[in-house]
Amino acid sequence: MKEYKNQGSKDTRSGFGAGLTELGRTNPNVVALCADLIGSLKMQDFINENPERFFQIGIAEANMMGIAAGLTIGGKIPFTGTFANFSTGRVYDQIRQSIAYSNKNVKICASHAGLTLGEDGATHQILEDIGLMKMLPGMTVINTCDYNQTKAATIAIADYEGSVYLRFGRPVVANFTPSDQKFEVGKAVHLQKGTDVTIVATGHLVWEALEACKILNKKGISAEVINIHTIKPLDEKAILDSVAKTGCIVTAEEHNFLGGLGESVARTLALSTPTPQEFVATNDTFGESATPAQLMDKYGLNAAAIVRASEKVIQRK
């Protein structure tokens, strides 16, 4: 089993901020927009270095999405920043018509996704955003797992033509992927080789999947762990190749089971190789106020939940 070291816990949103800062230095066409959440999105360094390329929109997300669409017409590569809830559900029609249907090269960067936003509660904890975004024709959907990967993804999507939804979060989490990684949109990352069960995870659940793999290993179960950072387009080959070996799969995500990664995986399997699958996801519910760890435990989104799901799915083979 490969060992993954936490290089020092950090928040994924800081990875976004660092990536944006680097883009400010390397790509003169990159511009950034924010709807009154500069601190939360870690955009201050970019702003300090590139004040003329930053647009403070105020609390007006619909206007922000339209302005971003317009900026692309002048050759700019706009990165919008606000919470995931206000980046998607609040502005769905603006994204749909002015960005996705209009084929605009906008990067919608969404922090504070999922339950790990914590104490602010369900009004701010969106668990439906992956579904909303992946249903839009042409939209690329990415959910990164740690600081290093979020920074790499932020930099990579500037050169990836088309509308992109980049989802990350608020809490400090393990930072374990290489700092010099090359981020390839749509390419799954194999983290552990195994033979008994495939675990595909996205976002904050990737580290939990690695933790689950260790626990399963002690129980004599060999788990294959794959980081699916890009939910759309999905790396179907990586999934099909893995289940050809293991014969069962667990999907893990900080999102409703409806519309999430798990559903995309299920479709892939149904069309090719119907395979027993368990879903580690929220069960068609809103969140609530509490600490991130308490919520991830209550709603079954941690290593312990992945272990339970793995044991269950192996029984179904």
Binding site: N63, I67, G74, Q97, Y101
Partner: protein
């Protein structure tokens, strides 16, 4: 010059009527009301390159926010040379670039954003205008919006932003025809003084009382151009007659989204002579 424009207006009205008649759908009322404005804008005012490039660098840009008046937009673009006039014959048909509402999706030259879901055009125009400033491009950005469309809240986010951020290379025109689908705007949702509202948001507001008179439109656009680039966005309140140029389509909201019958088409065409040749 005015005679040339008038002949384009007459032909554009015929195009609009024939397009919506053929597919028995579309929006003739608002299209006819804005015909003089768009003909003047595209043929006399804007500095454009009909060899269409999406980035519109060093060109004036136009965004149609009230996308349902696509018939007049398509006719004006085609007659100006963006795409073959014969293509107007495909309006709303399967596999056409001339969708019910304008889109970039099928690659129709002249269109830079999809519109139809109302209230989004001004935000897009603001982004394009700010990109021009970043690119040191001194050309202007024009928009057109319905008056009923101002009931969409996103407009007011954009209107507030435009003056706050001094987006002064933007000239937004509001088609004040006083009508929307369900009736008169004053009955559906009275909006009070739109002039006072724009002024309260610190815009320069110009009024064109005769919004179907080419000379009045050209004077208004000339004044707007002079007032641009002075620290404030510019708004033109264009008072138009829905259905203008077809007597039975005027003074009513009934033709907002309804096509004429064969007899009605013949009657309407008889009021607007063929000038440049029907497609």
């Amino acid at each position: 010059m005015m005679q040339d424009l008038q002949s384009i207006v007459s032909q554009t009205r015929r195009d609009i009527l024939r397009m919506v008649h053929k597919v028995n759908s579309g929006h003739p009322g608002g299209s006819l009301g804005c015909t003089e404005f768009l003909v003047a804008l595209y043929n006399e005012v804007m500095e454009i390159d009909i060899d269409f490039k999406m980035d519109g660098e060093n060109e004036d840009l136009f965004f149609l926010s009230n996308g349902h008046i696509s018939p007049v937009f398509y006719s004006v673009l085609a007659r100006r040379g963006y795409f073959p006039v014969d293509e107007l014959n495909t309006f709303r048909l399967l596999d056409s670039r001339l969708q019910g509402h304008p889109t970039t999706h099928e690659g129709l030259p002249g269109v830079r954003i999809a519109s139809g879901s109302l209230g989004q055009g001004m935000s897009v125009a603001l982004g394009a205008a700010q990109a021009k400033k970043l690119n040191n491009d001194s050309k202007l950005v024009y928009t057109l919006h319905g008056d009923g469309e101002l009931q969409e809240g996103q407009n007011w986010e954009a209107i507030m932003y435009a003056s706050a951020k001094k987006v002064d290379n933007l000239i937004a025109t509001i088609d004040l025809n006083g009508q929307q689908i369900d009736g008169a705007t004053n009955d559906v949702l009275p909006m009070g003084s739109i002039k006072a509202k724009f002024e309260a948001f610190d815009w320069i507001v110009l009024e064109v009382k005769e919004g179907n008179n080419l000379e009045a439109i050209l004077n208004g656009l000339k004044e707007a151009k002079e007032k641009a680039n002075n620290g404030k966005p510019v708004c033109i309140l264009l008072e138009t007659m829905m259905g203008n140029g077809v007597d039975f389509m005027m003074h009513t909201h009934a033709w907002h989204g309804k096509a004429p019958s064969d007899e009605q088409l013949a009657n309407a065409l008889s009021q607007n002579p063929e000038t440049l040749g029907d497609y």
